[in-house]
């Protein structure tokens, strides 16, 4: 990694095309909010024209890391390298900020998000190597609530699938990377993955010692923590002889498939090649699904940034939904829902604007249910819909498939 980003900075031709896609820029029209502006700041840092200031930190944190800009960049600048370097620089030079004030101000008034965050916070420590407690301060947001909130009742996904469900003569054996949100909150998504794959004759292993993918810490520029998490996860998954690894979380998939290539280096390539988003996996290895009977509900789909813009996956989940429901596309399906880490906290107003727009699109589509492929988006969108007292349900596309399979069975 080291100085790679410096080359990337000089590749930027300042053409401005990143303006067209950056969800933050499209709201604020601030040049400091878009890749090109941040690249010029990185350049100035490189040339020692500026130092690490609070303003700089704000501008760095205002990036959603959705990577749309990387996708459209005509000069093929690897913006991810640049933003990661900036985040790391901020962390190293300014420390990682404690954000209680922000949490009080922005999270507390927002009950669903707050509850959710705290539930996560209460549990997430288990995913982090806890040997050195000092590391924990690097995840301020998620740990903030730890002291106040009791652990979440009920079984986590990992607990639920402690034992692998056996499949007779499985055609494949795959591992499921659950990710924190699915493990702690959206356990039913994990269940749906197991259900569906089992029905297709695929055995699903959920390694018990898997940890957080590391996105929260890298978002805060905490490279060390991310690296440790990556190494732990490598050990866990490499030790098992799996045909593939799937995840139902767009961000986790991006992290373990793409980011680990930077963190762990080329030796991860073999594993990386075997990692799939769940819809991508189904599309590639299963294809036709006899026994699926479409449910009557109208379902629309929201593209998670990390799936669409990083992995270029948009057709696969739609194909699943088309087979298992009355699918309707929404306008601006690829617009960001506004969710996502530190950004949500610092720019709560913008997050809300994006969310409102997303909810508008969903409502315009006339769908009964909105499906997506990321638990983070599920959380955000559900919050937005609840805010409007809408009856529209929010779910994961794999859960729609699960229902359609069930539907097929009962009709038989």
């Amino acid at each position: 990694m080291s100085n790679d980003w410096k080359n990337e900075v000089s590749k930027c031709s300042k053409c401005g095309k990143c303006h067209t896609v950056c969800p933050v820029f499209l709201e604020t029209h601030d040049e400091s909010a878009v890749a090109r502006g941040r690249i010029s700041l990185a350049e100035a840092l490189k040339d020692k024209q500026i130092g690490y200031t609070e303003k700089l930190r704000d501008y760095v944190y205002s990036c959603k890391k959705c990577m749309r800009c990387r996708k459209v960049c005509p000069s093929d600048v690897d913006y991810e390298k640049i933003i990661s370097a900036l985040l790391r620089g901020v962390a190293e030079n300014m420390g990682i900020p404690l954000l209680p004030k922000i949490i009080f101000r922005y999270i507390l008034p927002r009950r669903i998000l707050f509850d959710t965050l705290l539930k996560v916070s209460s549990k997430i420590q288990r995913f982090i190597p806890m040997k050195k407690r000092g590391q924990m301060r690097h995840l301020p947001l998620l740990f903030m609530g730890k002291r106040w909130i009791p652990t979440l009742a009920g079984k986590t996904a990992l607990q639920k699938f402690r034992k692998t469900r056996k499949v007779e003569n499985p055609r494949m054996r795959v591992g499921l990377f659950t990710g924190c949100l699915i493990n702690y909150i959206y356990v039913d998504i994990a269940e749906a993955v197991v259900d569906v794959l089992n029905k297709m004759g695929i055995e699903v292993v959920i390694p018990q010692r898997q940890l957080c993918c590391g996105t929260p810490s890298s978002t805060m520029g905490d490279v060390k923590s991310s690296k440790r998490l990556a190494e732990e996860n490598r050990k866990v998954f490499e030790s098992l002889e799996l045909d593939a690894i799937v995840s139902a979380c767009a961000t986790c998939t991006k992290s373990i498939k793409n980011d680990y290539m930077h963190i762990l280096g080329p030796s991860w390539k073999n594993m990386s090649d075997k990692i799939y988003d769940i819809s991508e996996f189904i599309d590639k290895f299963i294809g036709d699904m006899p026994g699926v009977k479409p449910i009557g509900e109208k379902v629309t789909y929201h593209d998670p940034c990390h799936l669409l813009w990083v992995r270029d996956i948009s057709e696969e989940p739609r194909n699943i939904l088309k087979k298992s429901s009355r699918f309707v596309d929404m306008d601006m399906a690829d617009a960001c829902c506004g969710g996502g880490g530190i950004f949500t906290i610092i720019h709560y107003d913008l997050t809300l604007k994006m969310l409102e727009r997303k909810v508008d699109s969903i409502q315009r589509s006339g769908a009964d249910t909105v499906a997506t492929n990321c638990p983070g988006c599920v959380m955000q969108i559900a919050d937005g819909l609840a805010g409007r007292n809408s009856n529209i349900k929010t779910t994961h596309s794999i859960q729609i498939l699960q229902e359609a399979l069930k539907n097929g069975e009962t009709k038989k």
Partner: protein, 471 residues
């Protein structure tokens, strides 16, 4: 990066200006931190110069107030749309104030019955195109930056684009302007009617003035009914001259395509493998043609175009059957700019325009100038109106830049000899100001200078642009 060493007196003056602006505009609209100034120091030319203050106006009155202050203290002013220009227009060469007009981005009105829309300068061109399309209308000027550049910037540079042959350029669609003059006074030029000839045509004097005369705060554009349909055709040739002849023949056959784009061998080899369309090794030139209109005339025109291309020895002619195929063909054209960086990391992008009958000569001259193959040259562009984008690519090696610059200079000399112009659509800015006196004679230049001094006696508007340093 230009950094300004200022005297204490100048610093004091600047401090006064900042304070005065803060007082009249409020802190939301006045940015003076280094981080913000850095973000408004560049444009699409990759040049940089740090402004002292960034002003983000929301209204005409904000602009007027700022100009009054700037004029009083004689502070340079540089207007900026999206900062995507290709001639340096939005780079604050002498520091001072950058006006970030992106915040003035409202479409004020679209009147379908009048074929007129009025917008603020910060509206992104594509946004306007999309909005008027909802009313079955069409705003034709279509620079390749349309998805991110602003109307204000387009008007300031008189942007062209791929629809120029059939539909003309930005200038042809501007009916009226609200302009803030350098002294802060506000004038209205033109009229919000499809025609008006009352008095001098100040509207067109200001179009293409590159921010050196005043700042547009409202722009009224003319719209036309949206063509029913667009079809696309790609023709592949093994000889460059064949493609040029085919383009000629198309027009000779009374067809005016919506777009008539050309790509030479270097451009093709840069995009080969980018997917979309198969480009065999023997393809050395490419024409990309859009035809618009009603179903009937498209069918007719396409067949004429197809036979014209075949007559000129096209290896293959591909008519897009689906919108996906159309997209694939256009993806080839769009990927040139990024793909060129695979050839070499540095690029000088010129947008010369010659009479169409001289294109062959121009390209031969360019070949000759680079006969030692010291650098790479890729030519593509709007061949229908003679507007060729000559891209000089060079490596990060000592001496390369000097060679490239020398070749560019010699190309400009040839262009003028061929009766061409040094800029068809990007504007002069500071990137091409050194070539201005090749094209514009001293007398004409002195008239332009006189006009500049007339409107902007203190020379605060975008100094260092458009005029050669000698003028």
């Amino acid at each position: 990066m230009v950094m300004f060493k200022r005297t204490t007196r100048e610093d004091t003056k600047l401090l006064k200006v900042v304070n005065e602006l803060l007082r009249v505009l409020g802190k939301e609209k006045v940015l003076s931190g280094i981080e913000d100034r850095l973000c408004y120091s560049y444009d699409g030319t990759k040049q940089k110069a740090l402004p002292d203050i960034v002003i983000r106006p929301n209204t005409t009155s904000d602009v007027s107030i700022t100009l009054k202050v700037a004029n009083k203290y004689e502070i340079p002013i540089c207007a900026r749309g999206a900062g995507t220009g290709l001639s340096g227009g939005a780079v604050p060469l002498q520091g001072g104030i950058v006006f970030d007009l992106k915040g003035m981005n409202k479409i004020l009105s679209i009147c379908p019955e009048d074929f007129i829309a009025t917008v603020e300068p910060g509206v992104v061109t594509k946004h306007l195109q999309d909005e008027v399309a909802k009313h079955g209308l069409f705003y034709p000027p279509d620079p390749s930056s349309a998805a991110f550049s602003t109307i204000g910037g387009n008007v300031a540079e008189c942007a062209g684009g791929i629809t120029g042959l059939k539909y003309g350029v930005t200038r042809d669609y501007i009916l009226a302007l609200e302009i803030v003059l350098p002294d802060g006074s506000i004038i209205n030029t033109g009229r919000k009617t499809l025609r008006s000839v009352t008095g001098y045509d100040l509207t067109r004097l200001f179009i293409g003035s590159e921010g050196t005369l005043g700042i547009f705060t409202k722009i009224t554009v003319k719209l036309i009914p949206k063509p029913e349909k667009i079809d696309t055709l790609a023709a592949f040739f093994c000889e460059r001259d064949n493609a040029i002849d085919a383009a000629d023949l198309v027009i000779e056959n009374n067809i005016v395509p919506r777009t008539l784009e050309f790509m030479d061998q270097m451009s093709i080899s840069a995009v080969r493998g980018y997917g979309g369309v198969t480009l065999d090794e023997d393809v050395k030139a490419l024409l990309l043609i859009d035809i618009d209109g009603t179903g009937e005339n498209i069918k007719h025109d396409l067949s004429v175009v197809e036979s014209a291309c075949k007559k000129k020895n096209a290896l293959r002619v591909k008519v897009a059957e689906t919108s996906k195929e159309r997209e694939a063909i256009w993806a080839v054209r769009r990927s040139i700019s990024p793909a060129l960086y695979n050839i070499a990391p540095h690029k000088i992008n010129e947008d010369v325009c010659v009479p169409r009958s001289r294109i062959k000569e121009l390209l031969q001259k360019v070949d000759q100038l680079n006969d030692k193959r010291e650098i790479y040259v890729a030519n593509f562009g709007h061949i229908g109106d003679g507007n060729v984008h000559v891209n000089i690519m060079f490596k990060d090696e000592p001496g390369q830049e000097e060679i490239a610059e020398k070749i560019v200079h010699n190309i400009m000399v040839e262009v003028i000899k061929l009766g061409g112009t040094i800029s068809g659509e990007h504007g002069i800015g500071n990137k091409k100001s050194q070539f201005m006196d090749l094209e514009i004679l001293p007398k004409e230049l002195s008239i332009m200078k006189k006009l500049k001094d007339f409107f902007d006696p203190k020379g605060i508007m975008n100094p260092g642009k458009l005029f050669p340093s000698s003028a």
